[in-house]
Amino acid sequence: MSDVPGTELDSTDDASADEVTTATDVEVEEPPDPHALDEEHAQLLTRLEGELGDAVLDTEPRFGDPVVRVRRDSWRRAAEVARDVLECDYLSFISGIDWQPAPKEGDEDSSDTSSPVQPQEVSYGAAGSDGRFQVFAHVQSTAHHWGLTLKVDVDETGMLAESWVPVYAGADWHERECWEMFGISFDGHPALRHLYLPSAFEGHPLRKDFPLLSRVVKPWPGLVDVEAMPEEPEEPASTAEDTE
């Protein structure tokens, strides 16, 4: 992979033009803490924790938005608190996530450029998770303009979460989508029917172990006609910027 003719030729041919675009170090100065909550959201989080007590498993600020993971049996209660106490009257979305890494495509040693290679070890997002599946939702207040993200773990054997339909009417479609895409059922949902997919569809497409079918039928052209990724230059070209 290191002896890629294309990139080296380019860089010798026209060094100045190439190095301006390939400059590597982007240690751009970050603001002190991009995740810090402003006063409003910090209070919001305190109020939520006060109402829910030990049903809040973990919280973590993410780019100014509080991310709160609640216990399974308090998922609907969390929505009620968000709507009635925190005045988050607006339901932005409900969705799910599968934290299990997707199986690697192609052979171990093949230079597979068909899709980005994700790390193979399991890691969880903000506020953690204790299993493979999670449901997460975002609610907002139209009057106060604040919002927060709520998460709940889904038991892999039961695959059941509490439905939000009694709290937010709009949860209906979001939960139907989540049900067909991840196979997560919602307790209290009026009718879990297929939303996007045909009713005879089998499987749950957004699970990580569900392959992208079009690539099973026909391999990605990139697998056959491998074009090497351009290598990062060895030395950060610090003087090259001035030559422009």
Partner: protein, 419 residues
């Protein structure tokens, strides 16, 4: 150049006082019946219900679509009718489901912008902005001011293009053919500008992580100023020709009223929610993004929440967007349009929710990254999906022609529903 909005005075005073209007033509009979307190707007519905009871009309299932012209694509509505009245309506979506959330897991960040261009294809540029913003924030980089301004201008131009089409097409939905031609004609000016700047009329794919692909071409700023005049004129035309039309009012007033609280619970956003009197616009009220904090603009609301209010609010927002473009052009800073980014874009581990005020409403991406060249998962929150999810509630009890009015006034794009 910054001329004040040309708003019909009656409508504006009502917008500021929050007074509701009753259906056109129903008020004269309101006082002649002292026996029962009934909202005058319901009189004609009552009369029809009476006929249904006397004649014992049975139910009928009507399939609207998936190819009905009023559905902007392939939305199918299964409507249960009793005579001319809708008993229940069930939207069947998914005819255009392309599985973008799955596809994003197989693409790199720069490749994904090609996909998300095709979510809401009338305002493709505006779709790119929140995703690029999410990637930039996760990487801790910031596009230069000039890039931010150009992004804002192009977002507003997309808004104008989308709304001009709506303003014309809404007339078509209720039976007036002429406005549709005006809408398409005037949108052409905006599409030409977008094409001149980005190279693409519908799918610009112009945003890059860290800035923009190109700077603006020569003469573009002046061309845009000229085109904004056309937009103001077009808005005046639509205000006279459509919004001020008695028949149009009769067809849209008090049709499809969305109560503010219910709309919010369903996730209805953007102009649709502002037409229900909710003063909430992410450009002003959300986390600061693009150049919006630096310009001065008004957020328009209307108290009625009916189809007419949705038309009226979009009409004002078109004008407001044109004024914003002029302001942005005046303040346009010079400088680079691209910040330094690595050749291979890897986004550090993390997750972020970014939302923007798109022409159709709140558009957002929840991006989970694990440090690879592509995202681990992207949740695409598209506006039309939630806007349309209120239809089963909204269509209950309306007449068949009003179904079309409501569908038209909600203004959805099928790609934005199905993703």
């Amino acid at each position: 150049m910054n001329r004040p909005p040309r708003v019909s005075e009656a409508e504006q005073s009502r917008a500021s006082t929050g007074e509701r209007v009753s259906a056109v033509g129903a008020s004269p009979t309101a006082t002649s019946e002292p026996m029962m307190e009934v909202d005058p707007r319901l009189y004609r519905h009552l009369a029809d219900a009476q006929v249904n009871v006397e004649l014992d009309t049975g139910d009928m299932i009507l399939n609207l679509g998936p190819q009905h012209p009023a559905t902007h694509g392939t939305l199918r509505l299964v409507v249960r009718l009793d005579g001319e009245r809708v008993i229940s309506a069930d939207p069947i979506i998914g005819y255009m489901h392309r599985g973008y959330e799955k596809l994003t897991e197989f693409r790199t960040y720069p490749q994904i912008t090609t996909l998300i261009n095709r979510i809401d294809w009338l305002s493709s540029f505006a779709n790119e902005v929140p995703f690029i913003d999410a990637a930039e924030q996760l990487m801790g980089i910031l596009a230069p001011p000039r890039a931010q301004y150009i992004r804002t201008i192009l977002t507003e131009l997309s808004r104008i293009a989308t709304f001009l089409l709506f303003l014309g097409e809404m007339g078509l939905q209720v039976g007036a053919l002429t406005p549709a031609f005006y809408g398409f004609r005037d949108r052409e000016h905006i599409l030409n500008l977008i094409e001149a700047a980005t190279g693409g009329r519908f799918h610009p794919n112009f945003n890059r992580i860290g800035g923009l692909k190109d700077d603006l071409p020569w003469g573009w700023v002046n061309d845009t100023r000229t085109a904004m005049k056309t937009v103001f004129d077009a808005c005046d035309t639509f205000e006279d020709l459509v919004a001020g039309n008695e028949i149009f009012e009769a067809r849209t007033r008090s049709i499809g009223i969305i109560p503010a609280e219910l709309g919010a619970a369903y996730g209805v956003s953007g102009s649709n929610l502002r037409a229900s009197g909710v003063d909430w616009d992410l450009r002003r009220d959300g986390k600061p993004y693009l150049a919006y904090p630096e310009i001065d603009f008004r957020v328009w609301t209307h108290p009625d929440g009916d189809s007419f209010a949705r038309y009226w609010v979009r009409l004002q927002e078109t004008r407001e967007a044109a004024r914003m473009v002029l302001q942005l052009l005046d303040q346009l800073p010079s400088g680079p349009i691209m910040t330094k980014v690595p050749l291979i874009i890897k986004v550090p581990q993390g997750e972020i929710w970014v939302e923007t005020e798109n022409p159709l409403g709140q558009m957002g991406y929840y991006v989970f990254s694990k440090g690879a060249t592509g995202p681990f998962r992207v949740k695409i929150r598209s506006a039309s999906f939630s806007n349309v999810s209120i239809l089963p509630w909204l269509l209950r009890g309306v007449f068949v022609p009003d179904v079309i009015t409501i569908l038209g006034s909600l203004y959805f794009i099928l790609g934005d529903i199905d993703r």
